[in-house]
């Protein structure tokens, strides 16, 4: 990490009366990053974003943007621009006037403004829409206008509050990719607020997971998925099976795991999180795709155990099986890619489950 992050949030607290929305948040966001604030509704994401924008002041702590403390600096003087959840398109102005709204104050001639506006509209694929008024636009187009209106200001940071949540699934997925590509081509830092873990994984360079006003983990999408720091993060990001386990210290510095539902396995020292005493382990996590149903006699895995298929959900490309493993009451989810010539295993079938030391997620 560099010495000078574009955003530096230091021990920020925020209370609304009795509600403590943020409880000591520390966060550094690098220049040019696509950074996401991810968490369930009400965890304080919007509050944190609005604090960066200048619409809320921290109760205590500091927000530093580009090295400058933002204390007391109003939103109109900050190098940030926001894409609002409702898009906040001015209903009395045309698309062009919306996009050019913030330029009116800069010392630019009419023709310069018109050119900037056209460039911004081109960036979001809205060439020729300049003369329309706000109510003649679809949801996706409004979202693009809001984005162009922010980008045309050439801010150092673009703040986006659940910008895609109002769009239907297909459009949302398309916009996720477009937004990501746009961010990479302009190179401006984007901070995205979302409650959709999949969206955060697809779009972000790094993600901060928030629960109840506190940051649980800040990591790249891969790290977040593969090494969630605790069970809460693990179950919020994707699907995670939790199984009872006991651990013993082994001579090489690794761990010996006894998992009643699966069997025994040795975890190497390198794969073991630091300062995690064996005695503190009572549950481990396994992702559905890290368990495999061994269909053929000839299929083998590092470790094998047995279970009974209880149900199956067919998703087209994937099938999610609910499997009853021994010594555990809860059903375990196993996902299998559907390949040619393989039919769905019927309920009640006894299957062999393949897994390995790499399948296991340890929580500190």
């Amino acid at each position: 990490m560099t010495q000078n992050p574009i955003i530096d949030i230091k021990n920020v607290h925020k209370s609304f009366g009795k509600v403590e929305a943020l409880k000591g948040v520390n966060l550094r966001i690098e220049e040019g990053e696509f950074f996401s604030l991810l968490g369930p509704s009400g965890c304080g994401k919007t509050t944190l974003l609005r604090m960066i924008a200048g619409f809320e002041e921290p109760t205590s702590g500091a927000v530093i943007i580009g090295g400058e403390p933002m204390m007391g600096i109003p939103a109109n003087k900050r190098p940030t621009n926001m894409v609002f959840q409702s898009y906040a398109i001015f209903p009395h102005l045309s698309v062009s006037d919306n996009v050019g709204y913030g330029l009116a104050k800069k010392k630019m001639s009419r023709s310069e403004i018109a050119e900037e506006v056209n460039n911004a509209l081109a960036m979001v694929d809205l060439v020729g829409y300049g003369d329309r008024s706000a109510h003649e636009l679809s949801g996706g187009q409004r979202q693009r206008v809001a984005l162009a209106r922010a980008l045309v200001m050439k801010p150092r940071v673009v703040l986006l509050d659940e910008p895609l949540s109002a769009l239907d699934k297909k459009l949302r997925e398309q916009m996720q990719i477009e937004l990501r590509e746009l961010q990479q081509s302009v190179g401006i830092t984007f901070i995205l607020v979302t409650h959709d873990q999949e969206e955060a994984l697809i779009m972000s360079d790094r993600i901060a997971v928030l629960f109840e006003g506190e940051i649980a983990q800040v990591a790249t999408p891969q790290t977040l998925y593969q090494q969630p720091v605790n069970e809460r993060v693990a179950s919020f990001i994707g699907v995670m099976n939790f199984l009872q386990a006991q651990a013993t210290e082994s001579a090489d510095g690794g761990l010996g795991l006894e998992i009643p539902a699966l069997g025994d396995v040795a975890i190497a020292k390198a794969a073991r999180p630091e300062d995690l005493p064996a005695a503190s382990i009572d549950r481990i996590g396994v992702r559905p795709e890290m368990l495999t149903i061994l269909f053929d006699e000839s299929d083998h895995a590092e470790c094998e155990s047995e279970g009974v298929v209880v149900g199956a959900s067919y998703y087209g490309d994937m099938t999610y099986y609910s499997v009853q493993l021994p010594e555990t009451e809860e059903l375990t989810t196993v996902s299998m890619r559907n390949t040619a010539g393989r039919s769905i295993v019927a309920s009640g079938t006894k299957v062999r489950i393949g897994w390995g030391a790499d399948s296991i997620v340890l929580f500190s």
Partner: protein, 274 residues
């Protein structure tokens, strides 16, 4: 088939209007009506200075009353909408309290307040701020403006309040986010979006004010007489209903045109607020 609301509108609105229009093309021969169609009344209304003076004065007064009322109502509505966080309903209720007394009573109260030996003069003299009673505050234009501005206040506040309430607050934040300070933001976003309410208030206050005849009569003195007082005289004492009708139609057309201009100007301003 004629639906009941249409029938109601016809009987209550269209029929009296049609009668007034018809009357205005007749003429009065001492005691009986001459029903031959003539433009005589309109010619008289147009050529006699007294009528022009009265119509212009009525317009003048109603524009002043409207200006004062709307300019005072806007900050009140703004305060209610943006500053009051809780109990908005209670505040609205308080604003309507003056309506609990009859209009006449309120006009008389203003007489008591503004009169030669009234509350205001006594108080100011008692405090030694003035030596003798001020006379320019009653029985003239000022008194009419003050009384009417007070009477219309709730009617003007409510439409503006409603249009301010309807402004999505994130629009104001967006304006600020895009670089506007409070002042620019007000003129570029708040005011244009509140314009429908402002126009509604303007028309609600202005149109009935032109036609008011009680207030001028009670507090206006001779300087404060308005066209409606003259219309009333024509229908009554002067016994010239056709002329009264022509005056009524003429002032209606003028008020209608002015309203239309205000309406269009408001639309134009809203669209141009860049």
């Amino acid at each position: 088939m004629i639906s009941p609301p249409l029938l109601y509108a016809l009987i209550m609105l269209a029929a009296p209007l049609a009668m007034v229009v018809t009357f205005s093309f007749w003429s009065q021969n001492y005691l009986d009506l001459d029903t031959t169609i003539t433009l005589k009344n309109y010619k008289e209304a147009w050529s006699k200075p007294i009528y022009r003076v009265l119509i212009l004065r009525s317009l003048n007064i109603s524009i002043m009353v409207t200006l004062v009322t709307v300019l005072l109502a806007f900050p009140m509505a703004y305060f209610l909408s943006f500053r009051v966080k809780r109990n908005k309903a209670l505040w609205l209720f308080l604003i309507t309290i003056p309506f609990w007394t009859s209009y006449l009573l309120r006009v008389f109260l203003w007489k008591v307040i503004l009169g030669y030996n009234g509350v205001l003069n006594s108080a100011l003299m008692g405090l030694g701020i003035i030596d003798e009673p001020m006379t320019f505050i009653l029985y003239n234009l000022n008194a009419v403006v003050i009384t009417l501005a007070h009477a219309w206040a709730p009617f003007a506040i409510l439409p503006i309040f409603v249009s301010l309430e309807r402004i999505d607050r994130s629009l104001l934040e967006a304006a600020e986010d895009l670089g506007d300070g409070p002042f620019r933001r007000f003129f570029r976003v708040t005011l244009p979006l509140a314009m429908p309410g402002v126009i509604a208030s303007t028309l609600i206050v202005m149109i009935p004010t032109v036609g008011d005849f009680i207030t001028p009569k009670l507090v206006g003195g001779t300087d404060g007489l308005m066209i409606s007082n003259m219309i009333q005289i024509q229908f009554g004492k002067a016994n010239n209903a056709p002329l009264g009708a022509a005056l009524a139609i003429a002032s209606m057309v003028i008020v209608g045109s002015v309203s239309l201009v205000i309406f269009i100007a408001g639309r134009w301003f809203r669209g141009r607020a860049q």
